[in-house]
């Protein structure tokens, strides 16, 4: 039950962060501030997972990033069925709206035909998994205990 609550909390935060950051794009640079706040809030949620068993922790983190990972695989599969790959990238842009302001700060450099933000957006499911894992890890909490 505590796993489901943790997953539900993350989705709730993520969806409302999408709305808040999306609307705040109308008032730059508020979108950047809200995006950074999103990272702080997600980091804070990750810390709550420290009391969880390692298997539960992994389950929560993976369950939270499943939509991003599915979209990632749809994009890299380059499937042309119903133009799925193309639409998957659009949906991915929306799904990670909360982090779009940070991606928008990347330099406009192309590498192998795609701009830098393309690669970072595709990597976000894994970056966020790592981010969440680090903040929820017992190694971090151990360091704090030592201090």
């Amino acid at each position: 039950m505590q796993n489901l609550i943790a997953i539900a909390r993350l989705y709730f935060i993520h969806i409302f962060a999408f709305l808040a950051v999306g609307i705040s794009m109308y008032y730059p640079p508020w979108d950047i501030i809200l995006s950074l706040l999103y990272l702080v809030v997600i980091g804070s949620e990750a810390r709550l997972l420290r009391e969880f068993a390692p298997s539960s922790r992994c389950l929560v983190i993976l369950a939270w990033q499943v939509p991003g990972m599915v979209l990632f695989f749809l994009v890299i599969s380059h499937t042309t069925l119903w133009d799925l790959s193309n639409y998957a990238f659009f949906i991915m842009l929306f799904w990670y709206t909360a982090l779009a302001p940070i991606l928008s700060l990347l330099p406009g450099i192309f590498w192998r035909g795609w701009p830098l933000y393309y690669y970072f957006l595709l990597a976000l499911p894994f970056i966020m998994t790592a981010y969440h894992s680090i903040f929820s890890s017992s190694i971090c909490s151990l360091k704090q205990t030592i201090r």
């Binding site: 909390r9 709730f12 935060i13 409302f16 962060a17 709305l19 808040a20 999306g22 609307i23 705040s24 794009m25 109308y26 008032y27 730059p28 508020w30 979108d31 809200l34 706040l37 999103y38 809030v41 804070s44 949620e45 709550l48 994009v75 133009d83 193309n86 639409y87 990238f89 659009f90 842009l93 929306f94 779009a100 302001p101 991606l103 928008s104 700060l105 990347l106 330099p107 406009g108 450099i109 192309f110 035909g113 795609w114 701009p115 830098l116 933000y117 393309y118």
Partner: protein, 202 residues
């Protein structure tokens, strides 16, 4: 415990605050029946979502006579935001600059507009020097990020029409005098600032 509550409340609260501010500052958009958001909602009710039925339609329109700074519109059947779903600005040598999902603001061959079922070439009624400046502006944005709902207010997110609107807005030509949140491709077609060079539907 307080942090747990804060984490849940903060974004719904911020979303509400920014929404109310945006609504109160843009009542003219919400009262405009032809605003892009209403066009989109009406299309959704008819079952049209996104940019329509993507395929290669082979319109084979001639691009002869295009000048740098001219605009190209393309559309698929069933597009939810109007007759045209995509737009680009001609930069010469058979190339256009446009903004698209995975490519951001980028240079493409003009011939990819043959894939659309509807295509239209527009001549901007402006001095060649102004059009050259507009082209230079879009060139400077290469590699910048695409975001479908890019508001007009910032310079970090672009969609296909915002880049063209902004390029000419910087030169004093405003294709959206109604001051909508977004610029639909059809707005360029209906603007007094352009004349249709040629168009084709297959």
């Amino acid at each position: 415990m307080k942090w747990k509550q804060f984490n849940l409340i903060i974004f719904p609260l911020l979303a509400l605050i920014f929404f109310l501010i945006a609504v109160s500052a843009n009542r003219h958009v919400f009262s405009n029946e032809s605003a892009v958001m209403y066009t989109y909602l009406q299309s959704v009710r008819k079952g049209n979502i996104g940019y329509g039925f993507n395929s290669y339609y082979g319109n084979n329109i001639s691009f002869a006579g295009l000048e740098p700074g001219d605009l190209i519109l393309g559309g698929y059947p069933g597009c939810s935001y109007g007759r045209f779903s995509h737009a680009g600005i001609y930069i010469g040598n058979g190339e256009v600059i446009e903004s698209f999902g995975d490519l951001g603001v980028n240079i493409q061959s003009i011939y990819h507009y043959w894939e659309y079922s509807e295509v239209c070439l527009l001549r901007v009624k402006a001095d060649p020097a102004v059009k050259k400046q507009a082209v230079e502006y879009v060139r400077r944005q290469q590699g910048a990020m695409f975001y479908p709902l890019a508001f007009k207010a910032d310079n970090r997110y672009w969609n296909c029409t915002k880049i063209m609107w902004k390029a000419y807005r910087e030169q004093g030509l405003d294709f959206d005098p109604g001051d909508d949140f977004w610029v639909a491709p059809d707005l360029f077609y209906h603007s007094d600032l352009v004349e249709v060079i040629r168009e084709r539907k297959v």
